[in-house]
């Protein structure tokens, strides 16, 4: 099990809450998230995959990629675990900063097993704030284990089905 990085909990960013109040809804927490990771952590026009959370080493795509075995987590912090590691079967979370309205579709194998997709502007799993509930996971959690560390390909798609996160 990939450990969470204790060093991240030492990085306290300015917490800017939006006006929306935190709601509890049927067991799910819907909260206004503070200073977030959009632009700086996944540049406009990119689809980003992360070694762990949104502040961890990452790789950015601006096009489809059929095989992650020649991609490496070379962006983001170079002094953290994961930096330089291969992306294939190693993606822990994913974000989409598409400016073309593209969804990110991730596959276990290109031409084969589909895993999940992420809508434009959305982030599947990874956020960080000071929250008693998530203090054990200061930078948010990874994708569920049946989706985590399985992606080997990314296909950019237009507006498709309603299943994207």
């Amino acid at each position: 099990m990939r450990p969470q990085h204790a060093s991240h909990s030492l990085r306290r960013r300015a917490r800017i809450l939006t006006a929306a109040a935190a709601l509890a809804l049927g067991g799910a927490a819907i909260t206004a998230a503070p200073a977030a990771a959009a632009g700086p952590n996944c540049a406009n026009g990119n689809h980003c995959v992360f070694y762990t959370d949104i502040y961890s080493p990452k790789h950015s795509f601006f096009n489809s990629d059929h095989n992650f075995n020649d991609d490496f987590f070379l962006e983001g912090p170079s002094n953290q675990e994961g930096s330089g590691q291969i992306v294939d079967n190693n993606v822990w979370s994913a974000s989409n900063s598409s400016t073309g309205g593209y969804e990110s579709h991730y596959y276990d194998t290109y031409g084969g097993t589909y895993l999940f997709c992420v809508n434009p502007g959305h982030y599947a799993n990874s956020h960080s704030w000071d929250d008693a509930e998530t203090s054990a996971r200061p930078n948010g959690g990874p994708l569920p284990d049946s989706l985590r560390q399985r992606a080997s390909a990314l296909v950019l798609r237009g507006t498709t089905t309603k299943d994207c996160y």
């Binding site: 194998t109 569920p144 089905t161």
Partner: protein, 302 residues
């Protein structure tokens, strides 16, 4: 998950039933060579309406979905234009498009599937300035989060993308994400139980035995696909031809999907609130999309 790379052996494969079948030597890493004979009709997944209920709810694209996608794009075009930007929306997938992404936990299901999937391409992202990105995706310091026990999704609070989602989904925007995640839990729970299902186990064993006779060793169809190098991954690859043939001979897909459907129904019975709530939000979205498309102010400026 460990897998055993396919082992392709001499001599001829018994599965080649059409005239002209001949022996060939197959080794992973070499070219696949010509396909000498057509395999029997592969077992196809039954028609769309026989998909397991969670897959039917999430992955079948209807005309209403098509309208929703079109409406969303028009709202974004209009919003961006108000701020002086030209937004070029990507294609909206058509209703009934069979090449759309959906989970195929049992690997390849029909001939030509790989080629069909590989045809789906869109142009690369165009570089855009920061102001454009801000207009579309909003202030990066303003985000909202929907979370369940299993995962969370963070979305922009502002910007044209967010505004279009608000317009169509209303107050249900975050609730919709939460429900999608709950349905995802159902997908995973059913697959997990399937891995311990006796009938499914027996079907996989029969498939493995058939594949073994054909000289291919693989734990299951998904493993088989992973073991075929990407450069060789095409519908005519002998291992993939054998896979489809064995699925037809053993009725594998029918059994697998029947069992998966039963397990998904069980999950829905244990969590009866989720799908009705999801359907209600979908209906709301579709009504809003219809209204947006009927609104003369929502011009199609593509």
């Amino acid at each position: 998950m460990p897998f055993h790379p396919p082992r392709l052996l001499l001599p001829p494969l018994a599965l080649l039933v059409a005239a002209g079948a001949a022996a060939w030597t197959l080794t992973i890493g070499q070219g696949s060579g010509p396909v000498r004979a057509a395999a029997p009709d592969p077992a196809r997944v039954a028609e769309w309406d026989a998909l397991p209920p969670l897959y039917a709810a999430l992955y079948v694209r209807t005309e209403a979905d098509e309208r929703t996608g079109t409406a969303q794009q028009r709202l974004i075009v209009r919003c961006m234009a108000r701020q002086g930007f030209t937004y070029h929306p990507p294609p909206v997938a058509r209703a009934g498009d069979r090449t759309l992404s959906r989970p195929t936990p049992f690997g390849i299901e029909e001939r030509g599937q790989i080629a069909a999937m590989m045809e789906q391409t869109v142009p690369a992202e165009r570089p855009q300035g920061e102001a454009y990105g801000r207009a579309l995706l909003g202030d990066p310091d303003k985000q909202l989060k929907a979370a369940t026990g299993d995962m969370d999704v963070v979305v922009p609070a502002e910007g044209c993308q967010a505004e279009a989602e608000w317009a169509l989904q209303g107050d249900g925007r975050l609730r919709r994400l939460e429900l999608r995640m709950r349905l995802g839990e159902g997908e995973r729970a059913a697959l997990d139980r399937l891995s311990r299902d006796e009938e499914f186990d027996a079907a996989t064993a029969a498939w493995r035995a058939c594949m073994d006779e054909a000289g291919v060793t693989a734990h299951d169809p998904a493993d088989l696909l992973r073991a075929v190098p990407e450069a060789e991954r095409r519908d005519s690859h002998p291992a993939i031809v054998a896979d489809l043939d064995c699925k037809a001979r053993t009725g594998y897909l029918r059994t697998a999907y029947t069992r998966l459907a039963a397990l998904q129904r069980q999950w829905l019975a244990r969590n009866p609130d989720v799908l009705p709530a999801w359907n209600a939000l979908m209906e709301h979205e579709q009504r809003a999309a219809r209204a947006a498309l009927d609104d003369p102010g929502t011009t199609d400026s593509r």
